[in-house]
Amino acid sequence: MTESQPQETGDIALEMRGVTKRYPGVLANDHIDLDVRRGEIHALLGENGAGKSTLMNILYGLAEPDEGEILLDGAPVKISGPSDAIARGISMVHQHFMLVPVLSVAENILLGEEPMANPVFLDRREAHTRIRALGRQFGFEVEPDAKVGSLSVGWQQRVEILKALYRNAQILVLDEPTAVLTPQETREIFTVLRQLARELNTSIIFISHKLNEVLDIADRITVIRRGKVVGSRIPSETNEEDLAELMVGRDVLLTVDRGESHPGDPGLVVEGLHVADDHGHEVVHGVSFEVRKGEIFGLAGVAGNGQDELVEALTGLRKTASGKATLLGKDITTATPRQLHQMGVGFVPADRHRFGLVLTFPLTDNIVLNDYHQAPYARGMIRNEDAIRARSESSIAEYDVRTPSATVSAGTLSGGNQQKLVVAREFADDAKLLVLDQPTRGLDVGSIEFIHSQAVKRRNAGTAILLVSAELDEVLELSDRVGVMYRGELVAVVDARTADREDVGLLMATGGKAPTEVTKDMAADLEEVS
């Protein structure tokens, strides 16, 4: 991937030796050794909670290691904080961008490092020139005066990278950079990263849990599991199965075995649904589709194209402006969450911390969160703790929720176990419809595998399943049919088994429109913002 290397390439730019970090009850980093060469793209692969972020926080000065040392260009250093890290040429692009949306590109890039024409005034012209030149060098010239809030996610990420370049980053850390991007945007950002490594000799640490990306972009891969380095690989000498096994510590089923589906009668039927967002702007424009019994219908789309509002409307959390939704022939357009629950609708919300769980409550209370008021969990107004307890114990066992007991608070569980708890509550045996909104976001491979297999099991039992996910791979692998959302419209419905990944990605990014129209759409957005 990186053939012609400048001279110093290959020198070790960063070395972390025996880095250990303990948190109460957890050994987050256990004597981790990592070296990164100049001009190298070094992938750090591991499941959520494996210790990647802790290690990078130590490098960035956000956490102090209990043991071990950090060497930059061979010299031991102590990094006291992010500003110290930046001064030493280490920059970090966080998963959630640290940009101020109302400020311009230039202002964001200059934040904290303003070039002064004199003691009072900023030297804007000098800054703009440098920003333009840097962008031009890497083929993404960006207008310094554009407001960051008006840029797409992909462009915002470029601004983050520009910010690092502007500060002469020698070592650039990217934390799950592709999580929010379409396949096309991912490819473009990869081009930029390769160019950076090759032309500026920047060392890039690429944190990810996506195997295919790591194989594509990295020169070397270091795999971390439960706080330890479990192996190091070169992409040409490994494959996805090998990496997955290293990462998880056992054989994993990488793709869902969704098998044949036998869709029956229509389950959920949505006709011409219009939904407005919190500000009263219509963001779902007359969407129609149906999810049949025994079928998984996937909704693909870049985040923010109306999926959230559509799901909230279908689950009773948001009013529909017009249109109609029916479940097995019954009108559910205005049904409340409780009515839907009693009709056999299960809902796994995207934000399990906000909607799915009460983190301070014990698992028992969370298991009966929407059944607490009826038999056997309550007799009249009196809660029946024995029944609640019994239900919790059986759900915890059936859904393999790893917990010391049913009475610990939900907040003490790992993300994967929290999600299994939500799934255990919502996947009732007699479910008519399951709405799964980003069901595996942020989960480890093991939990993803489990939740996918449970979804397929429910489908085979005849449940209609609506799957919404920003992970295109998940939608394509798990669904039977896939609808693509673009700017509040359902622009296409394709067969998931035969669909081409690139085509669907393009539909997500453009809605199948010609480039000129897309530009017009973006211009309209800018109007709205300003």
Binding site: T315, L357, A378, R402, V408
Partner: protein, 384 residues
């Protein structure tokens, strides 16, 4: 389809009940201890004013305080009687905390409860006690509940923050009482403006000063506890308080729960006011006031918003009030030092995080939920 081999959750064993109780009580205990020390220092400093500094003065003062509160049956009973209105007031604040509401309107709800009991009690003064007493109590409870319903409804329907509306309603209650008692409700034949005699609505005393209202206050503790932790309504209240979004998702109605909880808070505070009028004052004048309203907030915070904790905190505050008289007589320390100590307790409680850091105590959770409720920014309460 194998079981997932994700690592088990970091084994954080549930601590024993005693350990959890200690973890909950440690900051309140430190707050009381620290406030007593601060109070002692102030008492000692005050002795400089007399020209002869006396390092033993704080000990004398606290000894008389203790003797006054617990040294005799009369003292003990007086402590309990003084605690009763604080228990109900504290519960009125604590119940609100559980629903994520900061009810600082206990003062107004207490006054309206007192007004209802005084006015209706005087009206039914000639009815037999079995009728007059319940009717007067009910009137106080309902008027208090109404004074809680208003901010609850304003919050649920318009998003108006209860801290702002309850403070305003405190003033409105005071002004309304002054108007009514100097006007429509003024009883004839007295040298000053007041409500009429209670007659049969007056609460009988059972032992010394212990009246029926005291029993109601203590009975409210297990009732509120049961409501919160054993009933489905309590589950709804706690869920709305902990996570209103999850409550809505689970099919609960946060707006309804907010209104109902504020009304229940008002009812408890109204009972407190009614008990004071029917059991102790026996009438209400135009400038009727009481420290119960604001002390209730301190009691609820000191009791960590738990009914049993609130009862213990109220007993402590009641005992300090009861014992302060003897302290003033024997040690010459003005009763106002109790206000200083109570205010210092509040300061210590508010500095919960600081105390834990200084003493190296790990918090069981990030921040006590009642403090989180207080620190929620204004306007966070969007209409549900």
């Amino acid at each position: 389809m194998t079981a997932a081999a994700s690592p088990a959750a970091p084994a954080r064993q549930r601590p024993s009940p005693l350990a959890r109780l200690l973890a909950m009580a440690v900051v309140p205990l430190i707050a009381v201890g620290g406030a007593l020390i601060v109070g002692g220092i102030i008492i000692f400093l005050s002795s400089f004013a007399t020209g002869e500094p006396d390092p033993t003065l704080p000990f004398q003062a606290y000894a008389s305080l203790f003797k006054g509160a617990f040294g005799s049956l009369r003292g003990i009973l007086f402590s309990i009687v003084s605690a009763a209105p604080l228990i109900l007031g504290g519960l009125a604040v604590g119940l609100g905390f559980k629903a994520g509401l900061f009810n600082i309107g206990v003062r107004g709800q207490f006054l309206m409860g007192a007004l209802g009991a005084a006015a209706v009690g005087a009206w039914v003064a000639d009815a037999p006690p079995v009728v007059a007493i319940p009717v007067a109590f009910l009137a106080g409870a309902l008027l208090g509940a109404a004074w809680g319903f208003i901010p609850g409804a304003l919050k649920a329907w318009t998003g108006a923050h209860e801290v702002v509306t309850t403070i305003m309603l405190n003033f409105i209650a005071g002004a309304l009482i002054a108007y009514l008692i100097t006007g429509p409700l003024e009883a004839p034949g007295f040298s000053f403006s007041r409500t009429g005699p209670l007659g049969n609505a007056e609460l009988p005393t059972i032992l010394e000063t212990v009246h029926l209202g005291v029993f109601i206050a203590f009975a409210a503790v297990p009732i509120v506890w049961w409501l919160l932790w054993k009933s489905t309504l309590g589950f709804e209240i706690r869920t709305v308080g902990a996570n209103p979004d999850a409550a809505r998702y689970a099919g609960m109605r946060p707006a309804f729960i907010t209104i109902l909880t504020m009304s229940l808070c008002g009812l408890l505070a109204g009972l407190s006011g009614a008990g004071q009028i029917l059991g102790i004052s026996h009438f209400m004048n135009a400038s009727y006031g009481s420290a119960v309203g604001f002390d209730s907030i301190s009691v609820a915070l000191l009791g960590r918003a738990h009914p049993v904790g609130i009862m213990l905190a109220a007993l402590l505050f009641g005992a300090m009030r009861a014992g302060s008289g003897l302290m003033q007589i024997e040690a010459g320390i003005p009763v106002e030092i109790i206000d200083v100590i109570q205010a210092t307790i509040l300061l210590f409680l508010a500095a919960d995080v600081v105390i834990r850091r200084v003493l190296g105590i790990r918090a069981p959770s990030a921040e006590p939920e009642e403090l989180q409720t207080i620190s929620k920014t204004y306007g966070s309460g969007t209409p549900a």
